[in-house]
């Protein structure tokens, strides 16, 4: 077997690698330390290079030689970079107009690394981990990136990867990758609109993706570089710091090392709270020689970080608004990234959205248990496809003529017996497309009338049920506010064609086909006798 193509999800905080194993399953690869979510951290002590979790530990002892949060700097001029995010690690400096880091390699020697070099070394470590795991050399990869990466950033990444003998065959968008991985495991039955929300350590990205016949179209994206799991850590650090100050009359915030210790442990505590309802934190000699030991339950954590969670929720609402959609148009919210583990995020969203919206977090049985691995798995799936198709084919497939397709503005569907509209081709369906529906119960002489449909949101106010006069207990609990029910309704708009089919015994199949020049062909087939009636617009 030739060497497999791997999928890499490269994040600011952590990276994952995955590949399609010979059993045709997605395997997320663990590095030699057993980490499947590998911290994107490099640390140098003398001649030694540390990577991943080992490097992350150096953040406390050896912060000046530990490089963190470097991904977003690739291909950008120094002036556009937010270097404050590197404050707790090796400080970012300007090297040749780009971001660089100055690392001491022991005995007074210093090494200046540009961000490209750092990324090369990081990718090399990932490559080594994958080669170790798979047992063959690896030369090709599919990389997932946020949707707002520019072409220059991508080419800079390609160059950095090429330096360590890794060819990036395709860049794919993180939300698409995550959705691809989800759909592979838990396919949607119908065409849906999904919000893919990726809450990473440093930044958050969300995208509204329409799935039509398995093809993804991004309708809107939203990014927030100031919102992420680190904000949860910060709130928790602040809470613990206050607690420590109260107990020991000593301020840990004045000492960088204390903060680093507290942050590292708070992060672990946060992760524990995703799985358990209470967790402890214990740090030896946090500040001024005082040890710190405390326990915190999930409720407290959720209260402390309430504001950040509110921002997550509003962030998702924002992207839906940007796509000019209503929450009722959304069928599911797929959560990915490390923050998705916290149960509060899912429960908040469940509360926020109507019941028709499914929240696909790790708590949902219908979704992956590892939201932080979704994007790497998606990249691996795409990598698997890339290894099946030959290179030229892949290159041609990525041409604009293939990728840019017309999308329906309005749904096309059938008029039902009671004058209702039944969408077959939903709005935002890219065409050419072919879709058929089977109506198994249909029989007799039938009229198939094809319409364009429009939808609107109907708001109804339900008056609360009249209270019983004598029931005093209920008064305390009853909600006096009238309940507002919002519903999505379709109405028939333009009539496109009528087809008649006679004497149907059992079931018809209606096939809609829309060619690339927007010609609509509808055919009706009697499932029993095989009679076909066709119409073309």
């Amino acid at each position: 077997m030739s060497s497999p193509v791997i999928g890499i999800s490269f994040g600011n905080t952590s990276s994952s690698i995955a590949y399609i194993n010979p059993k045709n399953d997605v395997d997320v690869i663990a590095n030699p330390d057993g980490e499947r979510s590998i911290p994107s951290v490099l640390s140098y002590v003398g001649d030694d290079e540390y990577h991943g979790g080992q490097a992350l530990q150096q953040l406390v002892r050896n912060p000046k030689n530990t490089i963190i949060n470097f991904r977003d700097f690739i291909g950008l001029p120094y002036s556009q970079c937010d270097i404050t995010r590197c404050e707790s690690g090796a400080p970012a400096v300007e090297v040749d107009g780009k971001v660089g880091f100055v690392i001491s390699r022991g005995e007074g020697k210093e090494e200046t690394l540009t961000v490209d070099e750092v990324i090369s070394r990081h990718l090399k470590q990932l490559k080594l981990a994958a080669e170790d795991y798979i047992g063959s050399t690896i030369s090709q990869t599919v990389l997932s990136l946020p949707t707002n990466f520019t072409a220059e950033q991508k080419s800079a990444l390609s160059a950095a990867a090429a330096k360590v003998g890794l060819e990036i065959v395709q860049f794919i968008n993180e939300p698409s990758a995550a959705l691809l991985a989800h759909v592979e495991q838990f396919p949607f039955k119908n065409d849906v609109n999904v919000v893919v929300a990726d809450f990473g350590g440093l930044r958050s990205d969300a995208a509204v993706i329409a799935i039509r016949g398995g093809i993804f179209t991004i309708l809107a994206t939203e990014h927030d570089n100031t919102l992420g799991g680190n904000d949860l850590d910060n709130e928790l650090v602040e809470y613990f710091a206050k607690d420590f100050e109260k107990k020991n009359k000593s301020n840990p915030r004045t000492n960088a090392r204390s903060i680093a210790k507290l942050r590292a442990n708070a992060s672990i505590t946060k992760k524990t709270l995703s799985n358990a309802t209470s967790a402890t934190i214990s740090i030896d000699s946090l500040a001024d020689g005082f040890d710190y030991h405390a326990s915190i339950n999930r409720m407290r954590f959720e209260l402390v970080t309430n504001k950040v969670f509110a921002r997550f929720s509003s962030f998702i609402e924002k992207v839906i608004a940007k796509a000019e959609l209503d929450p009722l148009d959304i069928n599911a919210v797929l959560l990915s990234g490390g923050v998705a583990f916290t149960p509060k995020l899912s429960s908040n969203l469940e509360f926020l959205f109507p019941e028709s919206v499914e929240i696909l977090g790790p708590q949902n049985a219908e979704s992956s248990n590892y939201p932080n691995e979704l994007s790497a798995s998606g990249a691996a799936l795409q990598a698997g496809l890339a290894s099946i198709y030959d290179e030229d084919e892949m290159k041609e497939a990525l041409q604009p003529i293939v990728i840019n397709t017309p999308h329906l503005k309005k749904a096309i569907g059938l008029a039902g017996a009671n004058g209702e509209f039944f969408p077959v081709l939903m709005a935002e369906t890219s065409y050419p497309v072919k879709k058929s529906i089977k109506l198994k119960e249909a029989s007799g002489d039938l009229l198939i009338s094809v319409y364009e449909g429009e939808h609107h949101i109907e708001e109804k106010t339900l008056e609360p049920a009249p209270k019983e006069e004598n029931d005093e207990d209920s008064e305390e609990w009853s909600d006096d506010e009238p309940e507002v029910v919002r519903e999505k309704h379709y109405t028939l708009s333009t009539k496109l064609m009528d087809l008649g089919i006679k004497d149907v015994k059992k079931g018809v199949e209606v096939t809609f086909q829309l060619t690339k020049d927007a010609k609509l062909r509808v055919s009706v087939k009697d499932l029993k006798s095989g009679n076909i009636v066709k119409g073309e617009l």
Binding site: G214, L398, I403, S430, P432, L439, D445, L447, I448, V533
Partner: protein, 432 residues
């Protein structure tokens, strides 16, 4: 459920040609996933949907062939064949369908040891009490116990043969009497399932309508002399383990043995009846019987061929002899008649010649000697009477040929006669 409206007017196709779709928006689609690659293939190669679907279908067939799915896995049950097993009392495990518990209800006695181990592993992964309680199920390990018992039974060759003997689920019942059915289709599986108890191998197969007579005979001979290893120990009543009541134990053992023997006898007689019935219904046997009958007739016919040929030859000879005799008789008659005729003809010719010679003198006007006519006639009469047949013909011919030379001819013959001494010259005075 969405329902279509009924057709009220007579429409087949009516397109609202004026209508136009709302202007579309161009957007990039995400270049990920197989559906995108399919789209790319269609766009780049200008395939229509139907062409593409055909290609995909071909491809799918290939991938199924090449897929490295364990072929054993396909033979296992996807889900538990009998849901009631889940609540089956494990103490009463003997009455449970052990193959179904192992997910082998399709394979049963055909399952190989490797397949049993694989199936057991699969079932354990699914039904282990830890797994069930982890997924929120009740902590009941009854079914798991049955699985373990099944594994224990099926992996021990002795226990397995005992269980297989009593695995009535694997028995295939013969078709009902009186129904119309295809003999080979309905009896083939019956014999196949019975064959599992054979001590002897190879086991002849039922074959089909074209099978040779010899093979068919071998088949029934095999089944008539079937040697079965089927035992009924599995159905034994449990022998009490305690040593307190030895008599009771012996009693139970004795009872078990009797029951086993009875069952074995019943099973043997069942098989004998089964084979008997199959034989009586086998269309080939009927065919062979008919053939035999025909052959017998043929042979009989052949055996009688010698006698028949003799009789025929005899008859022929008789006919021939008769024909010959007839022919001879007729030939003889003919010859007689011919002779008579010739004689008569010769007589007539002689008479004619005599007359011609006698009258020759008269015809020649007695040669001018009419006065001596009486003498001439008398003497001529003498000549004629004396002439032998040859001379007579000669003389008659000569006279006939030349009437004028009659006298000369007569004179010549008279001379010959007198010289020959047949007639005295005195009597032939006129011609000498």
């Amino acid at each position: 459920m969405f329902t279509l409206p009924a057709l009220t007017s007579d429409i087949t196709v009516s397109v609202n040609s004026g209508a136009k779709l709302t202007e579309s928006v161009r957007r990039p689609i995400e270049p990920v996933g197989k559906f995108f690659l399919h789209h790319a293939q269609r766009t780049l190669r200008n395939h229509t949907w139907s062409e593409f679907e055909k290609l995909q279908a071909e491809k799918n067939v290939k991938t199924v062939d090449e897929s490295n799915v364990d072929p054993d896995e396909l033979l296992f049950d996807d889900e538990l064949a009998d849901e009631t097993l889940l609540t089956h009392d494990p103490r009463d495990w003997k009455s449970a369908d052990l193959y179904a518990a192992m997910g082998l209800s399709k394979l049963r006695f055909k399952a190989s040891d490797a397949q049993i181990i694989k199936a057991h592993r699969k079932q354990v992964l699914k039904h282990h009490p830890d797994k069930i309680s982890a997924s929120g199920g009740l902590n009941q390990d009854g079914f798991f116990k049955i699985i373990q018992k099944a594994f224990e039974t099926l992996t021990d060759s002795t226990k397995r043969s005992q269980y297989d003997s009593c695995d009535f689920e694997a028995d295939v019942l013969p078709p009902k009497k009186g129904d119309s059915y295809d003999f080979f289709e309905s009896w083939g599986p019956v014999f196949e399932s019975e064959a599992r108890f054979s001590k002897k191998t190879p086991i002849p197969t039922l074959g089909n309508l074209e099978t040779e007579k010899k093979e068919v005979e071998q088949f029934y001979a095999f089944w008539n002399r079937f040697d079965s290893w089927r035992t009924f120990e599995f159905l034994d009543e449990d022998v009490p383990d305690d040593s307190s009541n030895r008599d009771h134990k012996r009693y139970i053992e004795k009872k078990n043995k009797a029951a086993r023997d009875k069952k074995k006898t019943a099973d043997n007689s069942r098989l004998v009846k089964l084979v008997e019935r199959a034989m009586s219904e086998d269309p080939r046997i009927k065919l062979f019987k008919e053939q035999e009958k025909k052959e017998k007739e043929q042979r009989k016919w052949e055996r009688e061929a010698g006698a028949r040929a003799e009789a025929e030859a005899k008859a022929k000879a008789e006919v021939e002899a008769k024909a010959k005799a007839e022919a001879d008789a007729s030939a003889a008659a003919n010859a007689k008649a011919d002779k008579k005729k010739a004689k008569e003809a010769a007589k007539a010719a002689k008479k004619k010649n005599k007359r011609a010679i006698r009258s020759s003198a008269k015809d020649a006007d007695y040669f001018g000697d009419a006065d001596k006519a009486a003498t001439i006639d008398e003497q001529l009469g003498l000549i004629v009477d004396t002439l032998d047949d040859e001379q007579m013909v000669e003389v008659a011919d000569k006279i006939k040929a030349d009437a004028s030379a009659t006298k000369q001819v007569l004179q010549d013959i008279a001379k010959t006669m007198s010289e020959g001494g047949k007639l005295p010259a005195s009597l032939l005075s006129y011609f000498l």
